[in-house]
Amino acid sequence: MCLRFHILITAITAVVILMSYEYMATQQIRAGEYYSLILLGAVGMCLMSSAVELVLIFIALEISSISTYVLAGFRRRAAISSEASVKYFLLGSFATAFFLYGVALMFGATGSTGISVIAQSLRAGNTSTLAFAGIALMFVGLGFKVAAAPFHIWTPDVYEGAPAPVVALMSTGPKAAVFAVLLRVLFEINAPGRLGLIWVTAALSMTLGNLSALVQHNVKRLLAYSSIAHAGYLMMAYAALPANGIPAVMFYTATYAAMNVGAFAIVSHLAGAGERYVTIEDYAGLGRRSPLLAAALSIFLLSLIGIPMTGGFFAKFYVFSAAFQNSLTGLVIIGVLNSAIGAYYYLRLLVVMYMKEGGQEIPIAPTPLALHAALAISIAATLYLGILPGRVIEFASRSVRDLTQ
């Protein structure tokens, strides 16, 4: 399981670094510490996904969070960037405190912070209130980090204010790592009462995320709400049985990373120094002015909707079928309805791009080679996962054994 998440996180980091070159040049920021912070964050995420001890999980969580707090405020002369940073910092530390309190209560209930010892103790019939409260508080802290409702308030503000390449990183990398931690906390520990927690968070995230996205005008905010909704779909997989849920989670994190990093790469390129192509109306006529970029963005948007032939389709399919096999029909119905609502706002952006004239007639900067490479990797991954998902899902299924022994 660690290996798979390490590959994913390394790939995300590589693509984000590729797309950062151009951004740093247009922003005229001296960027040495920028890249080192990204790499430090990546180390934290990799550690987080392979840690089997709550102390190490906590430290890795903080390594990745602290570096993303700084990255979010990297355009420090722009007021919105430092505002995004301070909001992310305050709410992130608040969430960390909850996670820590959960760890403390878990330690109190079982006398250990090692995941396997805790799992043994709970399997042996230790169902004290302390253990339950510990799981719930840890879930609150981790829920903040993956932007699942009702802990999602910070997401749109931070995504809007932070630099676009950083948003590409923090909407995928730390999320994937925290989902790996959730695999351990919920499946390996076999958390008591997890179904109820997940039912509520998944349903709320999907519904709130999609409904709020419908009324957004700012593209980055729209993608922020879409990421809340996707966190909701992903949460559904945690309510399934381990044998189906674990591969579904892994497949979904990989697909979501591919399509979201790609979408943000384009948004970042179009935004230039940050003031262009902000609202959906600005994208009008993009299909005519820059057919290649518009086509690439369309692939990512179609994948976010979940159209067949793209990774998004199989990701949703595996999650829904995993939940269905654990007879969570109600949750699946909410999920399918939400996918239909979600299609509307992605399609609205597509329609504006291709069928409306006007928009910002600002000449788009020529795409540099690094961005081509970043987009090529993202598109290839999105299509590969959509056309030949078999090998990836088989690879992911192997980690079921590691986690449920």
Partner: protein
């Protein structure tokens, strides 16, 4: 010997004070101090549980929490200075360029 419950109640109270301060206070520095209070509440329960289980790992965890809290304070205060430079205020109600 003071029973475990007293320590847990005190740590829960400290944590709750921190949460209340986080939600009520309007100055960014005070909010940040409330978070530190929450962390100290957590530390107290770690130490109490460590004594209860006779396990050293709980006390070691406290050191890690303190180190991380210090690192977080360094980054946090830098971010707060950056906000003050651009907005000339530390009131969260006036740091409102990004609205829901």
């Amino acid at each position: 010997m003071v029973p475990l419950n007293y320590y847990l109640l005190l740590s829960g109270f400290l944590f709750a004070c921190g949460v209340a301060g986080f939600l009520i206070k309007r100055n960014i520095i005070t909010i940040f101090m409330s978070i530190e209070l929450m962390l100290n509440g957590v530390n107290l329960s770690f130490v109490a549980f460590a004594a209860h289980w006779h396990a050293l790992s709980g006390q070691i965890f406290v050191f890690f929490v303190m180190v991380v809290a210090a690192a977080e304070a360094a980054v946090g205060l830098a971010i707060i200075i950056a906000v003050y430079r651009t907005r000339e205020t530390l009131n969260v109600d006036q740091v409102n360029l990004l609205k829901l």
